[in-house]
Symmetry: C2
Subunit: 334 residues, 2 copies
Amino acid sequence: MKNHRATIKDIAELSGVSTATVSRAFSGKGRIGAKTRDLILAKAEELGYRANIHARNLSSRGTDTIGFFYPSHKNREPDYFINEILLGVSDTALQAGKIPQAHPFASDLDEEALDDFKNFILGGSFAGIIIMGGTEGARRFLEIAETGRIPYILIGELPGVEKYTVKYQIEQGTKLAGGYFRKIGRKRPAYVAGFLDHVDILKKQGFAEGLADLAEKTVYIEGGSTFQHGCHAYERLRNECPECDCVLCGNDVLAIGFMKAALNAGVKIPEDIAVIGCDDVKISRFYHPALTSISFHEYEVGERAVQRLLKLLENQPILPEESIECDLIVRDSA
Amino acid sequence: MKNHRATIKDIAELSGVSTATVSRAFSGKGRIGAKTRDLILAKAEELGYRANIHARNLSSRGTDTIGFFYPSHKNREPDYFINEILLGVSDTALQAGKIPQAHPFASDLDEEALDDFKNFILGGSFAGIIIMGGTEGARRFLEIAETGRIPYILIGELPGVEKYTVKYQIEQGTKLAGGYFRKIGRKRPAYVAGFLDHVDILKKQGFAEGLADLAEKTVYIEGGSTFQHGCHAYERLRNECPECDCVLCGNDVLAIGFMKAALNAGVKIPEDIAVIGCDDVKISRFYHPALTSISFHEYEVGERAVQRLLKLLENQPILPEESIECDLIVRDSA
DNA sequence: TTTATCTGCGCAATCGTTTACCCACTAACA
DNA sequence: TGTTAGTGGGTAAACGATTGCGCAGATAAA
């Protein structure tokens, strides 16, 4: 029994043909007779042959891998929002015969880590990449992709970048929340910030628009984006503005933390205070009360990003940006 | 300006040395003079050189990639349990200079998908792999790894497989839950099943042990492992055994679904019915009431799996199996 | 000075594919 | 019968690294 993995050469010998022919039998490219091909495939099966992936990629100057890069925070809770996008990315890539690869990067990306990523990306690991925007770290990946002339798609916002992106309607979304609070007759709004980045600014703006004349009374609480931050935000709000009767949180986990602290304090939701979250992640509907939230249709965002990247890879023309609709999903918390 | 990516050859020419020397400058292997090396590194920097990863892998017959294969269910909710393990795997791999790659596989793995995985794994994509056990799909991956002589570590249980695994103490864990229900004086237990696989059997057994004389009165509800299943489980339990006063659920999301339905029906938790979940996933502490759950220390499981795989890769001897302790984390639901 | 040891580096084979190019053969047609 | 087209498949050069071997020169030991 051979001790090494069967190669194309072994099959060639066994079938009495050249390696070129064997290669053609598998690739379908080039001309080859039907019986020769069948013979080759049979022998290959027999030997349990599998093409060496490195050799293939080297020789053909390409790969089927698509990278997905997203920020991951140090003190991390799972990021349910990005998980949804990732799901969309993975499914779509797989369906197209591409191999998805997820790579989190630290939000405080140091030079060393960045260098590893450069080796990785510029070393030819990816046919194309998808970058999660919103943070400055994302910009570094854009730069890498640019210098390596690697096709990429940006998801979300990054100031100054217009090509090629898939956006979700952040301002539109929070505007819906503002409008909804008005509609149900709330008077004193609050906003609890998430990551304190560019995205947050847009969220605030949209919220203010939706609130219209109520906007100027808005109380802003800042801190962070985790469950704990949400709990603290409630405590702070109770001190700073006990009369607030509705709150929009920068993400769902934050909203859940807020609700948890409020419920513990005996507050009734939504009677005493109405709560809306952002992202509409899966767990929001699990909560009691079920969280009203703004859905940016994350899965679809991931899906679309891959679809666009695929076109880029095939040199098909695409619009510089596309946008996915958002919705307010009303449940029990507001 | 050159249009192709700089190669080792370009640098060799530019520095007036051979490609062998350039390679040595980067790898640190072999002998090389200090100034030659510095010169080479400088030129490389200048050209923005990054080693082609495919060429490297082909030439050196190896790769730094570690694969993580886990079952993913069709109608999927994010699997918070596996997410935790994955986090442990990723962090540990990265620290060791390896590149982690996560690959979900459908629980009803068909031949075609399996063949893709074979190409992938046997094609040399991985230095070693980590396989999430518990389902029969996992066995197929073991087989692939065996035929390709690829080092692997199995996480959890798979009947008949003893080498090399990292186990978490399933029976021990649910036994704790059973004991706890006795201790707090509950009389009529129920068990809500998760995936209905091998793992579930162990959970039932452990639970029964912990319940001791209460075990025979246990009501078993089966169905699935999602939030929805949890909701239905509550409805069924109310019909089948309204006097049940404590329930163990096969996983946390199931438990949360159960609680949600119960709370909606006006039931008090834990007063009317005490609820314990399995896995102690992050979201469990968010819930209101916070869920009491059995922690299998998933992060650590993932961590340990990688540590063991690394030893295998270095041909260091390791024990056939190791086991990670479990704990009952008491919160507010029981 | 001679011999042994060590250091730095080049030569060239190798890893396992893909693919451009070319040649031999068959079939068809005038 | 000679020309043309079309088919099947071989030859060999890539792809971009790694690495065993050996050689020349420097240094140390005798």
